[in-house]
């Protein structure tokens, strides 16, 4: 009896396993009722398991059942999305993974006969001459060169600031003459140690402070 029961359990398990596997491969639809019925059967069989082989078969059945569940759930959720939208989504996925081949000559193509062998040519790129008559009419366009700001220009600016400060010794005087950009540059010169400005103040909270920020704030406030 024991042997019969054992083979009966294994037959049932094998039958369920192949049923689930075929349904998954062929993408057949199994209703929720049917799946629940099979799952209940598996659950009831569990108490009768004796060998490892039966337990393994049981696990395989659950695995296949799980795959069917997952696929049918995906299908159920995807049904809510219009088919055209799903096509667009798939197109987007492909587009987001593509590393396209480079063509830099646009959509038109040459025929293979147009790619001729390179004959004995001098190693230079030939520039085709422009049409006659146009040369005279076309004026040479004005050439623009980028303006560079070099060390010399910076030195001129900083010297200008130094001259301004030396000329008007009192702070309120050169403060009025200076614009915001000059004040900014002055702050930088003080910050990097190029200049030191001693500004006596009665405010105790500023005692011992040496920074260019205060100088800029003072300049901006006026």
């Amino acid at each position: 009896m024991k042997i019969e029961n054992k083979s009966n359990i294994e037959e049932i398990l094998m039958e369920l396993f192949f049923k689930f596997r075929d349904a998954y491969i062929k993408r057949e639809y199994l209703s929720i009722e049917e799946r629940e019925k099979d799952r209940k059967k598996l659950n009831e069989l569990y108490q009768s398991f004796e060998t490892m082989h039966q337990k393994i078969l049981d696990s395989k059945c659950y695995l296949e059942l799980g795959k069917i569940q997952q696929e049918q759930t995906n299908r159920f959720l995807a049904d809510d999305i219009h088919p055209q939208q799903r096509v667009e989504m798939l197109a987007y996925i492909l587009r987001s993974l593509m590393h396209p081949v480079l063509f830099i000559h646009g959509k038109t193509t040459l025929f293979s006969s147009a790619l001729e062998e390179k004959k004995n040519q001098a190693g230079s790129i030939e520039i085709l001459p422009s049409e006659e008559g146009n040369n005279q009419n076309i004026q040479q366009p004005e050439e623009c060169h980028p303006v560079s700001f070099g060390a010399e220009d910076m030195a001129k600016l900083t010297q200008g600031i130094k001259n301004l400060i030396q000329q008007y010794k009192a702070f309120p005087k050169w403060q009025k003459k200076m614009d915001l950009h000059q004040a900014e540059l002055l702050s930088q010169m003080v910050a990097n140690g190029e200049l030191e400005i001693v500004f006596p103040t009665k405010k105790k909270e500023l005692s011992g402070v040496s920074t260019s920020i205060i100088l800029k704030e003072t300049v901006c406030q006026t």
């Binding site: 055209q84 096509v87 798939l90 593509m98 396209p100 000559h105 790619l115 062998e117």
Partner: protein, 180 residues
């Protein structure tokens, strides 16, 4: 770098990125080694050296030179190292994705998917009309993405170049979730 080598690199670059069609009307992807040797009248060693220099030069632009085998011959092409838009329309991308999904799900070594199955899914599933499907398929073939082998569809080099293996597998998984 001497002027002659510089010019040679420029010409190779232009050759590799030219759009041209083979005798069967299908877009060629890059240029074959034989053609490069013939066109440049150069030795293989010189070509190797030039290609190596070209590879180094273009890598900083986000491009990579690659070599692939097609019908027993070596071909060279340049592709983007990064993801970028291709010249396919949205519907063509979707059909290509379905074809990829079908081919990737085949466990045999011969990677060909029956055309009838793909047509049944897309036309039978009312995603496309028969005319649309045939037109898209023809465009994909002419653009060098797929090739017909009797009643099956197989990859052409461009698909394998533009979509690495892990990308194709991902597309296969996503396709099964979206297209029934």
């Amino acid at each position: 770098m001497s002027d002659i080598i510089q010019e040679a690199l420029q010409e190779i670059f232009v050759a590799l990125t030219t759009r041209w069609r083979k005798e069967n009307g299908v877009l060629a992807i890059g240029v074959s080694r034989k053609q490069l040797l013939k066109a440049g009248s150069i030795e293989p060693a010189v070509l190797e050296d030039l290609l190596k220099k070209l590879k180094e030069n273009i890598s900083s632009l986000g491009l990579e030179l690659l070599e692939y085998l097609y019908e027993g011959e070596s071909w060279y092409a340049i592709r983007s190292s990064y993801v970028a838009p291709a010249d396919l329309k949205s519907e063509e991308e979707a059909v290509l994705a379905i074809i990829i999904a079908h081919i990737e799900s085949i466990k045999e070594s011969k990677k060909e998917a029956p055309l009838a199955n793909i047509k049944k899914k897309l036309v039978g599933g009312k995603y496309f009309s028969e005319y649309q499907f045939d037109r898209i398929l023809r465009n994909l073939e002419q653009s060098g993405y797929i090739e017909r082998k009797k009643n099956n569809l197989a990859y052409s080099p461009r698909t394998l170049i533009e979509l690495p293996e892990d990308a194709r597998k991902h597309i296969c998984e996503e396709s099964s979730r979206l297209i029934f």
